[in-house]
Symmetry: C2
């Protein structure tokens, strides 16, 4: 496995987008966010996505010009965008920048985006804001995809509906990026290509039994991903998935009811400014106390101490800047093909 | 099991609080919210709590006068309260009323409350706002209690950290009230008193094994409640519990770091006005479409069709208004004792 300097990878990915007629501002944000996904270890949601984004740009299913992002309605603390399928990372960062500024004035800002293109790795957005002592929160669903079953049901109805939140502490921030289902679509696809046996029984087959076999997901009629909580406590994961569905597709006013077929996202982001509430120092002291108590909890398995969300990713990121980024073979293969398809040289 | 008219139960509970020197405004809200918990079927978080609230009022650990609720900081869209351990339902409803009004102007409102007393059943707050076509969201943690272990750990560090959200639809609202742990403290206590065998292995024992036996929770050293997702996917429930911890104790600036020992709550509430975003009609159409698709999902067990969060509670509530409310024996026994302790007649 070869190691690539993160800056070189970012320049290469940026070049692919620039050569596909994407605005410089958009190409810059999208390449940075994709590489950030890999830096944090989310290889299913990093530069591997570039190929699909570029294909959608060429077919017209994704847009690359900043002018696609339109403000539908705006108050000093809230905004609704229609993104017209502009590449998602640019839309999300514009939305977070708006909410960060609103939060400085009002304590809170919120932005909802309809018809965004895919928004990649949620964790990749967060540190830019935690470094400014803000708490950014990102929620998303994809109205064109149905892969998760409601609790008690067999048929896939909605998406893993993840959320990401960044929490400043006195030391490393806590970076949360979790779906409201047992696993993501990306993991199902990746596992299916690599033999088809998941680590846990995260799917429900058409026969109503939980299964590790991804073949069940692709059967006719199809299986589905179980909500977080699985059979025993899946009513909670289903409720949380419904929360994300309502605050994204529901709030933005565009979703499954509109019969959308193309890859995209309904997104809502919020930013809280702790300075406006109990104070930045108090937040950090409280979270430091919490992190310390969690890390001090006796481990269930001595070789696996408790870890805070995002801390493994932050360590990986630092290592990649020192030693270069090691990308899995499937990611490198996809990049090579994406370069060919875009008519660009492949440098790695 | 005798059946009680909800209005009579509310008047009786209100009388207990009035006779314990609670302000009429506070007694009115607290009794209404407690009865609402029972109406929706949450008997561990309904009028059964009155006894503990009344005892804390008499000892001075809870306050009953509206003047306890102080505004620390306020913008047109956000407010931080210090509640000085005023009874929680009054604080939460004041906070939600503020955020509902802010949402009408800005699309969003947020309120954080430190040093609230306990806030009872989250689902009980929601319909008041969904009926006005708003989306209310309530998050809470109790800094004085540690019952849930971080993922991978054995020692209890934090609380179930629930959230509640109400979502308007064209028909019945969706009412979500779920903890970020497998089960609640209330269910552990109730089950322990009733024999000690949980339906699922929701606890982790001091030996590191999941268990249904509540004795493990009360052992020395103690066991703990597992995060939502259990051993396989508990990193997600732990992340979501951390989110709630940060947005409640962290944001309000008062929590575990302050060494608090008395029963209480850190609370944050938000309200979204969908009219400001994609529109009320679009939200309702989107959620109706989603609910219909969920209910149409083939059931895993034919006798258990898919149910939306809150819909069983709403049906129970309607039935209670027609036929009277049937309270479990343990609730009635607690009410009888509470009346004795408050020097009031017990009418049921």
């Amino acid at each position: 496995m070869s190691r690539i300097a993160p800056q070189e990878l970012e320049r290469f990915v940026e070049r692919l987008f620039l050569d596909t007629d994407v605005s410089p501002e958009v190409a810059s944000v999208v390449s940075r966010v994709l590489v950030e996904g890999d830096l944090l270890g989310h290889h299913t949601h990093g530069v591997k996505l570039a190929q699909g984004y570029l294909r959608d740009l060429r077919s017209g299913n994704a847009k690359g010009r900043t002018s696609s992002l339109q403000i539908v309605r705006q108050s000093p603390a809230a905004v609704l965008y229609d993104a017209g399928y502009l590449l998602g990372p640019y839309c999300v960062e514009q939305a977070l920048d708006f909410t960060a500024q609103a939060a400085r004035t009002f304590g809170i800002g919120v932005a909802s985006i309809r018809r965004s293109h895919h928004i990649a790795c949620l964790a990749a957005y967060l540190q830019r804001y935690t470094e400014k002592n803000l708490i950014p929160l990102v929620l998303t669903s994809d109205p064109a995809v149905a892969s998760v079953a409601p609790h008690g049901g067999l048929d896939p109805v909605y998406t893993p509906n993840p959320l990401g939140i960044g929490i400043p502490t006195g030391d490393k921030p806590v970076l949360i990026d979790v779906s409201m289902s047992t696993i993501t679509n990306g993991l199902v696809n990746k596992t299916h290509q690599a033999g088809g046996q998941l680590e846990h029984a995260a799917l429900i087959g058409p026969d109503g039994q939980p299964t590790r076999d991804t073949a069940a997901f692709f059967a006719t009629p199809p299986g589905a991903i179980l909500p977080l909580g699985s059979l025993e406590f899946g009513h909670k994961g289903f409720a949380l998935g419904t929360l994300v569905e309502a605050l994204t597709a529901g709030l933005s006013g565009f979703g499954r009811k509109d019969g959308v077929k193309q890859w995209g996202a309904a997104v809502t982001v919020l930013t809280f400014d702790p300075a406006f509430f109990g104070g930045v120092d108090e937040l950090k002291a409280e979270m430091d106390h919490f992190v310390e108590a969690c890390l001090a909890s006796r481990p269930r398995q001595p070789q696996h101490p408790v870890r805070m969300p995002g801390h493994v990713g932050i360590a990986r990121r630092a290592q990649a800047f020192e030693q270069g980024l090691a990308l899995p073979d499937d990611v490198l293969q996809t990049l090579r093909t994406a370069a060919q398809e875009a008519g660009c040289d492949y440098p790695f």
